[in-house]
Amino acid sequence: MNPAHLDYDTLADLAEGLLEDDQAASVSAHLDTCAECRERSADLADVSRILAEAPVPSLPPDLAERIDTAIAAESLETATVVSLEQRRGRRHWRILSAAAATVVVLGGGAVAGKVALDGSDDAGHRHSANTPAMDGTRSTVTRSGPGTAAGAAPSGEVPTSEGLRSAGYAVSHSGTDYRTGTLGRQVDRLLGKGAELKVQGAPPDGRLAGCVSAVTRGKAPGLVDEARFEGRQATVIAVQSGRPGTWDVWVVGPDCTAQNPHVLKQEQAAS
């Protein structure tokens, strides 16, 4: 018996074991006697082989970077929600005490205002005098309050929940993996996206406050990001330099202290 030739669908089903037993038997019998259908069957095997051998498309580097940035932004967004919720409980007395404090808004808008508020109720510091000169068109990830305050937190001090107010800046955890070649751009992108990224609220602990202060020589950082550098844990610190739109950037190891900053890299980034 040699009826009409088999079509690809039937042969493909046979190969996947999808045919009923009796149908499979008759198809196999046909194949035994029909070279043309055996060739068709081989065509199907070739389809799988050709697909398997197709070159693997490689991930475009700019897409990798774009996704890193999107994830970093998402991290900050998430952290913001958490930290704002955490702060909500403390809001009331803070607003009351703010009446006796100077409220400083650092150029950015609503978000910056919130942080300035959070950082402003420590009446012992002269906030306005130490406000870093921010480029008014941009808002930063971490708004800085009193520039000299960081120095006021001695290194080695026990981490304190008051750290944010005494240090005047918050520590970001953007999740960015900074790279040598793109460090400046990555910092600039985070700082430049400030409006979108908003603020992330953990205050520095004593070690980090001492470290930052030593590295920046007491200047208020625009960004302190506990992230990664070349795949390893590191902290990236950026301070606005003399010229507007340029940043001095330091990468320090996770063990950075005031005594031993362990600077891995230092460079200047321009926007």
């Binding site: 389809v47 890193d68 999107a70 795949g231």
Partner: protein, 207 residues
């Protein structure tokens, strides 16, 4: 890629990374993506064909996974879960675009109109372009199944988990897809092995 060379032997398992992320570790998710993004990209670009669409789909998928990490059930491999999210992101892209003209969705009439009856043997396209244009002729489900099984080397069972369908459905989609691709990739095959006959058994490659 640099991230690969940074990998160490004492690597944290995927599930642990995902758990850390769910608990608020800010680096865990980026690390997870660095590990798997190359294959996630391969799935996206092969399933969608268009690099821009695939890039958007991959980004969508990464952010979806970031947000959904807390709902990861842990009964499948993290990679399976990630690839499911990628495949779904690709499908979303296709639906949102309401189908590019070159991508008929399971419409046999359209397919027949588009399918070349006599492939031009002098056609100078490279292998990958051949494969890509051929894949574009398939409905999404068949294409995704073949991408996972034949191209990415997933077992039928793993592909079934990714696409959340029974293994038999994956087999059937693969069979339909291969049957459609056979005439489209014919010229390529014949160029390589002009005389490909013999006891070769069946089309699929049951794993």
């Amino acid at each position: 890629m640099a991230s690969l060379s940074m990998r160490r032997v004492d690597e944290v398992p995927d599930k642990e990374l995902l758990a850390r992320h769910a608990q608020g570790d800010p680096h865990a998710f980026a690390e997870l993506v660095h590990r798997h993004r190359d294959r996630m990209w391969a799935v996206a670009i092969r399933t969608l064909g268009d690099p821009e669409e695939a890039a958007d789909a991959l980004q969508d998928a990464c952010l979806s996974a970031f947000r959904a990490a807390g709902r990861f059930r842990g009964d499948a491999a993290v990679t399976t879960w990630l690839h499911r999210i990628v495949v779904n992101a690709c499908l979303d892209r296709i639906r949102r675009k309401s189908v590019r003209p070159a991508t008929p969705m399971g419409d046999d009439a359209t397919f027949d109109a588009v399918a070349p009856k006599m492939p031009d043997p002098t056609d100078a396209h490279g292998v990958s372009l051949d494969v890509r244009t051929a894949l574009e002729q398939l409905p999404f489900e068949q294409r995704a199944a073949l991408v996972l099984v034949d191209m990415m080397g997933y077992s039928v069972d793993d592909a079934a988990q990714v696409m959340e369908v029974p293994p038999g459905t994956i087999k059937s989609r693969c069979a339909r897809g291969r049957a459609r691709l056979a005439p489209l990739l014919g010229h390529h095959r014949n160029r390589r092995d002009p005389k490909n006959v013999g006891g070769v058994e069946g089309g699929g490659m049951p794993k």
